[in-house]
Symmetry: C2
Subunit: 438 residues, 2 copies
């Protein structure tokens, strides 16, 4: 077997531009199919949801919502060892997220003019948890814990049912641990549609968050800005690894494969000091790949993957910040000296003892992160993703005496005499012309 | 003349549902036209930008970017009185926004496992400032000041040129005051396209923010999630006013008109205690409307507007939170007792001496706010709109000894053996099986 990963020795700027360019994603056909699903759910609600579940998940479901009894029963189906591990993960994720959140602010901007903002949870949120190739119950923690901390009053979780119409027990148990209020057995574009439009069983939500495949991603894009807000654009998962001469090829290969096993379109880019280490990594990839149950996925995604050989710090930083990786593992001994130079990345794993999978599950950081270079503009999910703020201002009569004329000048200059007049009528009253009160 | 505003006396729940339903917006034809503009700019860059400026703004432009000399010259064209007013507005907006921003967080989630996040400015941002019906230079402050505070290194401002190919001097002067790095003379969908794709003259930006008409809004939606991030969905401006028996009809009418003059599709909803006050407000509207230069706009948008007569606190809160107004003016004497009950609104103006136009220009709060009910999920623009964060984690060997097995269990349960193995190879080394180092 040949490992299809590309090797770039001492890349020049043209190579770097090529490396940081991601594989093309064409989803126009998907969008057309998704359009049909969205329309049906919007028109027929629960009935369409059940029909698409029959077609795509190949199971007939009677009830869309899990009952309290079904939710309670999930706990007994989760092994004690798994429960303990889940509890440790939950505690770490809770601890890191509890320290987050938007800040309340109050400033007297000038005498008699106070401006403040109050932070509010987004009332109703929908979180999507994939259940396809692997039951990703860890995503429940990553979405529901920040929602719970933010104080959202309705947290709807959607996940596709298995062949018996059930949701994976660990997913339900995780939901129970962190305040999910409703669980709906539906996946794909139809689940997104149900949460965006609302159906008899499913409440319409204000924002939908969570990872997903191309169908759910397309569905989220299509309902966004019209029916509901959504989180970051989702795309194939990816990792960049920075190694130095002390790094162990076995570890580099393991980190590449932990990314590559996600799906055919994942991408792993390792930066190693020289061609010799690149060859060692490839040899390790070959060994480890054989033992991987998800070997087919990993092999396919290695074809999108690359090993770059260079020790040029400036080139490496161009690679990192140009690519803006979802995950960045700095295996290097001098990881600390790179921290402040990282401008664009989702989550960064510092030093040789910090595997990316620790962040996927249990270190405490969020694993819902910007892919596809979106780390240039987006952050991963945080408590702030479930919050908004409202600004307030109160102007006292003395404040309006000073600020009013400023507003009059600016409004007139913009040709908005109605805006000016809203100040003028008040100033007139304040100056006693009409009795000194409004 | 008849004032076309609808009056609802003691509305029931059906009325309230009707009142909070916004007028329909259909933009499918606009999207088709915008698609053509986007494609041309993506393919032909500057050339297309000049061509569309010739067609839509009816002016031939040689250079797209303003030169330093042109920027410097703007200051001399702004009247001293206007400059002073602008400076006061700038100072207030700066003071309120300087207190904002994402928080850095660092938590040891368990012994030997540290998670933190670092706040970063979004590197390159594009801000759009309309220049059509009114030269909205105040929007420059609302967008560029938070960008400046966030520390964005490229702040590109786009605004449509006038008939001589110039940008309104106060717009250019405002840009100069708050760190705008490039000004491009282009408006509409073509300006959005240029900033989303980049052209020879215009840098591609990571995020586009700012208000606009239906064309720029459609263009922003269409490039979002594919080429660039964007801010909140934009729609017609709107105000809700809560009055009590002490409120002055002249002031209520002035506040309604200051919203109504924005455009044909603006909406103003006043809640007054009784029919008598509703009639007084209508009579005031009639008087004030006559003196308004933008009377046509105001009259058209009054047809979307309403006066609701009720003193029922619960109904009023249902109206406010159901409608989720962009602007909420609480003229009531007991404004303070309503603050914490407001769950969904953009910006709130407390008490009778706080006109909405103060927030539009100079109180200090931001005037780029969620419309169309989006206040349920979005906040107005803030310093956070120009920031992102990167999460980091560092696991010490002792931390991995404890956390590693937890991750192994969780990864295996999800069927992701590659994820598990990235921990296992490290634990093996840590336990000395392969020399105790990675």
């Amino acid at each position: 077997m040949r490992i299809p990963v590309q090797v770039y020795a001492e890349p020049d700027m043209t190579d770097i531009e090529h490396i940081i360019k991601r594989p093309d994603q064409h989803d126009s056909e998907i969008r057309e199919q998704v359009r049909g699903i969205l329309d049906q759910v919007r028109l027929k609600g629960d009935q369409a949801l059940k029909e698409f579940t029959r077609i795509f998940d190949r199971v007939e479901i009677d009830r869309i919502l899990l009952t309290d009894k079904e939710v309670a029963a999930a706990a007994s189906k989760v092994a004690p060892e798994l429960k303990t591990a889940m509890e440790q993960a939950r505690a770490n994720i809770y601890a890191f997220h509890a320290a987050q959140g938007k800040s309340e602010v109050s400033v007297e901007t000038q005498k008699g003019v106070r401006c403040w903002r109050r932070v509010q949870p987004i009332e109703r949120v929908g979180i999507y948890v994939p259940g396809g190739v692997a039951p990703l119950f860890s995503s429940v923690f990553m979405l529901a814990i920040p929602a719970q901390i933010a104080g959202c009053s309705e947290i709807v979780l959607a996940s596709p049912p298995n062949k018996t119409g059930d949701i994976y027990p660990a997913t339900v148990y995780a939901a129970q641990l962190c305040g999910v209020t409703k669980i709906i057995r539906a996946g794909g574009a139809q689940a997104i549609a149900a949460m965006a439009y609302g159906t008899t069983s499913v409440p319409k939500v204000d924002k939908i968050l969570g990872p997903g495949n191309r169908y759910t991603t397309a569905a989220k894009q299509m309902v966004a800005g019209e029916y509901t807000a959504v989180d970051i654009p989702a795309g194939p998962s990816e990792v960049m690894i920075l190694a130095d001469s002390s790094s162990v090829p076995e570890v580099i290969a393991a980190d590449m494969l932990s990314q590559a096993e996600h799906g055919n379109d994942s991408q792993a880019i390792a930066v190693v000091p020289d061609k010799k280490m690149a060859d060692q990594v490839i040899s390790e990839l070959l060994d480890q790949l054989e033992k991987l149950p998800r070997k087919e996925f990993a092999l396919a995604s290695l074809a999108n993957s690359m090993i770059v050989c260079t020790e040029d710090r400036e080139k490496i930083l161009n690679l990192v910040n140009g690519y803006a990786p979802e995950h960045l593992i700095i295996l290097r001994q001098d990881a600390d000296q790179w921290e402040t130079c990282i401008k664009h990345a989702g989550s960064v794993f510092m030093g040789p003892w910090t595997p990316e999978s620790a962040g996927d599950y249990a270190s405490g950081t969020n694993h819902t992160l910007p892919t596809g270079g979106w780390a240039r503009a987006y952050s991963g999910i945080s408590v702030e993703s479930f919050q908004k703020h409202i600004t307030f201002q109160r102007i006292e009569p003395a404040g309006l005496r000073n600020l009013g004329p400023v507003v009059e000048i600016l409004a007139s200059e913009e040709g908005l005499e109605g805006h000016r007049n809203a100040v003028t009528v008040r100033l007139n009253r304040l100056h006693g012309e009409k009795g000194g009160t409004v």
